[in-house]
């Protein structure tokens, strides 16, 4: 979990990538969690239900609250978008 201190975006990106890699493995999704690949079925393969798990895990494991408007069906196109938001709110 990130505290209220200076966290570089590399560390945040690493954390988000680790979370995504774990969830992809659990779901049998192939490939590496490229930050700029599309999050959806045509990229990393996160469907609407697994995106919910992804955001829940990000909020739980980074301690950063993701505002309501960023939840929902397709608010983030890629992992880089999540990294950017977490970096802004940490």
């Amino acid at each position: 979990m990130f505290g209220r201190r200076n966290i570089d975006s590399e560390a945040i990106a690493g954390k988000i990538r680790d979370i995504a890699a774990r969830l992809m493995k659990e779901r049998g999704l192939a490939g590496e969690p490229d930050l700029n690949a599309p999050l959806a079925e045509d990229g990393l393969g996160f469907d609407s239900m697994s995106r919910l798990d992804l955001l829940s895990a990000v909020e739980k494991e980074t301690g950063v609250s993701i505002p309501e408007q960023y939840w929902g069906t397709r608010p983030f196109k890629d992992l880089a978008g999540i990294v950017k938001l977490v970096a802004k709110r940490v």
């Binding site: 955001l55 939840w71 929902g72 069906t73």
Partner: protein, 346 residues
């Protein structure tokens, strides 16, 4: 189903992002939709892809198609184009109904030419044409048949067909299983194209004159906020939503939740279900989804291969029995007996 639809005194509440639609208003729109669909060349018995998000347009188009004698094929609004192409080819589908909601739907109009449209309030539904369609080898039997895709929780994703009697029987099964009383408020967070959401949400609401609350977004924070404002009697979710509601809601001292929450799909650990009840004071019940219990048809061809209906499920058993002795027959001719805590007769 049309008779039930005509008698329905409930509503569809899109107050998450829009407004409340009384059943009478939806009925008028569905009548207009049926005429529009027929004028655009949709034929009775023709399978039509219903690729819509959770808005008032969904029940309007579903019943509009049934009234026109077409066979609606419920398809997730965010279905990738290659998957849709495969579906269209397999069933020889000529027409697609699609709404364009930012950040959710992504089927570009230039992928299939738009031949018409339907306005439902501020929602625009496009009628798209697949000009490459050819007549399928095995036409779908009957008119007004609903086609569903299973989630694949208990096996590979497959298709199943529901005639309107089966739809009503399954709806009744849901009403009994979730103990839904008349004029209740039912909130469904899953896309209505999902058979569990359409069965436990739309059909069960129609049968009980209930109000169905829906949202275009699959958003747990919004559900928590809206449950605080207007708690539901029944909330139907899938496991990731139940877990997200628990994680995001339990720290809120002012949290509120529906009278009962039901989920279908992959199992939730009993410890999580206990935590949910402790956090919200609301029981989290599991229920078998429509496609897991109700007369699954995996092949509509009378001469095609027989397919399995998925892996064995706990508490569900099937046997072939002699009518007199009620002994298991194994191979042979007899009555098919199905045992399940959540299955309708028939």
């Amino acid at each position: 189903m049309i008779d039930r639809w005509r008698a329905w005194e409930g509503a569809v509440d899109c107050s998450y992002s829009g407004r409340l639609w009384p059943a009478a208003e939806l009925r008028d729109l569905a009548d207009d939709a049926a005429e529009t669909f027929a004028s655009l060349g949709m034929q009775p018995g023709e399978p039509i892809v219903l690729m819509l998000t959770n808005t008032a347009a969904f029940p309007v188009c579903l019943t509009g198609l049934l009234k026109a004698g077409c066979n609606p094929f419920l398809t997730f609004a965010g279905t990738p184009k290659p998957v849709l192409d495969r579906l269209l080819g397999e069933f020889g589908i000529r027409h697609i109904l699609h709404d364009f909601i930012p950040d959710i739907t992504h089927l570009a109009t230039d992928a299939y030419p738009e031949i018409g449209g339907l306005g439902v309030g501020s929602i625009m539904v496009s009628v798209l044409e697949n000009s490459a369609a050819t007549v399928p080898a095995d036409p779908i039997p009957g008119q007004g048949v609903i086609l569903l895709q299973t989630s694949g929780t208990y096996g590979a994703p497959r298709y199943c067909l529901r005639d309107q009697e089966a739809v009503i029987a399954e709806g009744r099964n849901y009403v009994d299983s979730i103990d839904l009383y008349d004029r209740a408020r039912v909130t469904v967070t899953t896309p209505l194209t999902h058979s569990f959401a359409y069965g436990s949400g739309l059909i069960a609401s129609i049968l009980t004159h209930s109000t169905l609350a829906i949202d275009t977004a699959f958003n747990p924070k919004r559900v928590l906020r809206l449950e605080k404002q207007t708690p539901s009697d029944i909330l139907a979710v899938v496991p990731p939503m139940a877990k997200a509601l628990l994680q995001l809601g339990r720290s809120d001292p002012n949290r509120k939740m529906a009278r009962a929450v039901f989920y279908a799909g992959s199992p939730i650990d009993s410890a999580v279900a206990d935590e949910f009840q402790t956090a919200f004071g609301t029981p989290l019940f599991t229920i078998l989804g429509t496609t897991e219990t109700g007369g699954i048809c995996t092949s509509y061809s009378p001469v095609g291969p027989l397919n399995g209906v998925g892996r064995p499920m706990r508490h569900v058993g099937i046997s072939l029995r002699n009518q007199d002795s009620y002994s298991d027959l194994g191979d042979g001719i007899g009555e098919l007996h199905v045992r399940s805590p959540s299955i309708m007769q028939g």
